[in-house]
């Protein structure tokens, strides 16, 4: 039983690490096809990472430990979060520690490390990107917490595997007003946290409109490979978390090899579907002006607050 649990944790980490560049490649390919392009194929991000790892490492003059530690810290926090979040199984040796607050704090730690690295470069765009990222993060983290709280109230715990397994046994709960409001709030928060349109444009070349890209302008070679891999892993992890919380079907709730294999196939299908929907939506949306971003995020926070309120009152009545 224990062996299966450890395999499930290793499987979650491997799925996020190996799957992240493939998800990004898949999303770029979907987008390219909708734009009438041929597209470079879903393996292109892996080629980029391989090339970057072979390139010469560069440490810009005047940068300190914050700049050097950030890429490793970003990937490490995401790996730990991927081990904790119930992507494949809710019954793992670490599931007792997979508290909601721990996971959100790990994600915030990665964001903070990158923002400090942006400040450490001492360039105008690095500082600007860091300041914008912290503005967005300060609005996003409470929304992430609150929207999952809405689901944790009926489950009676903030332990994510417990929330997921209780939702898997009572799926009607997800279609309640609280569940639907929480989905909308969490989806907007994830778009902002991973720097996608409409909050940030990951493929922009204009420094003045950048948020995430502006902080990493000075990275090169293997460090850049880690930063890009980390950003892709965060997207995969958060889309996986979204699918686990709101479509928990197929996640292994007991220790069995067959359940684990089914869970892996369903996780891949769910995340690829979410990625395709996100990529298609990005073709139709434009980036909102930076000064409108707080309005969007305040709106999503409000939805999360309503979700918690609805969850509390509707459950109290029942």
């Amino acid at each position: 039983m224990n062996a299966i649990g450890y395999v499930a944790v290793a499987g979650q980490v491997m799925a996020v690490v190996i799957g992240a560049p493939l998800l990004t490649g898949w999303m770029r390919q979907v987008r390219a096809r909708l734009e009438g392009r041929a597209g470079p194929g879903p393996l292109q991000p892996w080629r980029d990472v391989r090339k970057l790892l072979r390139k010469e490492p560069i440490t810009p003059v005047g940068t300190g430990p914050a700049f050097r530690a950030a890429p490793a810290l970003l990937v490490a926090t995401t790996v730990v979060a991927a081990a904790l979040v119930p992507l494949l199984s809710t019954d793992t040796p670490v599931s007792a520690h997979a508290d909601l607050i721990v996971v959100v704090a790990l994600i915030a730690l990665g964001t903070l490390a990158l923002a400090l690295a942006g400040l450490d470069t001492g360039t105008a765009f690095g500082g600007m990107g860091a300041s914008r990222e912290m503005t967005v993060a300060s609005l996003v983290e409470p929304t992430l917490l609150l929207s999952v709280f809405a689901l944790s109230i009926p489950a009676g715990t903030t332990n994510i595997p417990a929330i997921v397994s209780s939702a898997a046994h009572a799926p009607a709960r997800l279609a309640s007003p609280a569940g639907l409001l929480a989905i909308a709030a969490l989806a907007v928060a994830i778009l902002a946290e991973t720097g996608r349109i409409p909050v940030d444009n990951p493929s922009t070349h204009l420094e003045l409109t950048m948020i995430h890209e502006a902080m990493v302008l000075e990275y090169a070679g293997p460090d850049l490979a880690l930063v890009e891999l980390g950003a892709q892993m965060r997207l995969t992890l958060l889309l996986g978390l979204l699918s686990s919380l709101f479509a928990p079907w197929g996640i292994a709730t007991s220790a069995s090899w067959a359940a684990l294999a089914v869970a892996l196939a369903l996780l891949a299908a769910k995340v690829l579907l979410l990625g395709a929907v996100l990529a298609a939506a990005e073709v139709f949306w434009a980036k909102v002006r930076l000064f409108r971003v707080p309005e969007l995020l305040a709106g999503s926070f409000l939805l999360a607050l309503l979700a918690v309120t609805a969850s509390y009152f509707l459950n109290g009545a029942a």
């Binding site: 009438g36 292109q44 070349h205 950048m210």
Partner: protein, 160 residues
């Protein structure tokens, strides 16, 4: 909804990929193995070449399908596309841009002006051709070069 209909009726606008250029792949480009991040440097061009570079990355020519991608920082780049005769004011920024790129790096001189100053040879503000300022690995002749020629040069770099 209008956009959705346009997407459906337009379908695929990318032209079929021409055969891979058979000129030799530069030695340094082999290490890139199918992925090249590109940084454009306008060293004093009339912007004719810039229009053609933009066209090379549009959906019709779609240079991205061969693994080339435009990036915002020379630190992220493997290839510098340099256009125009190098003016006195751009000589030092060009040297610094190329120095900021990690090895292996390639410099591609795009257009006649970048190769031999073209129309602007002998002008009082002109420092020289690109090769007089930084080492050049590939050249794309033409005034301006066709997008297909720029794509062919990028394919020699990515090897796809």
């Amino acid at each position: 909804m209008g956009l959705l209909r346009r997407i459906r009726t337009a379908g695929r606008v990318a032209e079929p990929a021409p055969p891979r250029p058979d000129e030799q792949v530069p030695q340094k480009a082999r290490q890139l193995a199918g992925s090249a991040q590109v940084r454009c440097v306008d060293a004093g061009s009339c912007n004719g070449c810039e229009i053609e570079i933009a066209a090379a990355f549009n959906p019709v020519y779609d240079a991205e399908r061969y693994g080339a991608r435009l990036v915002a920082s020379p630190r992220h780049a493997d290839v510098a596309l340099v256009t125009g005769p190098v003016t006195r004011n751009m000589a030092e920024p060009l040297r610094r841009t190329v120095a900021a790129m990690g090895e292996p790096r390639l410099v591609v001189a795009v257009g006649d002006c970048a190769i031999d100053c073209g129309e602007f040879a002998g002008g009082h503000g002109v420092e020289g051709a690109v090769a007089d300022v930084v080492p050049v690995d590939l050249t794309v002749p033409g005034c301006p070069p066709e997008p297909a020629a720029i794509v062919a040069a990028l394919r020699r770099v990515t090897g796809r």
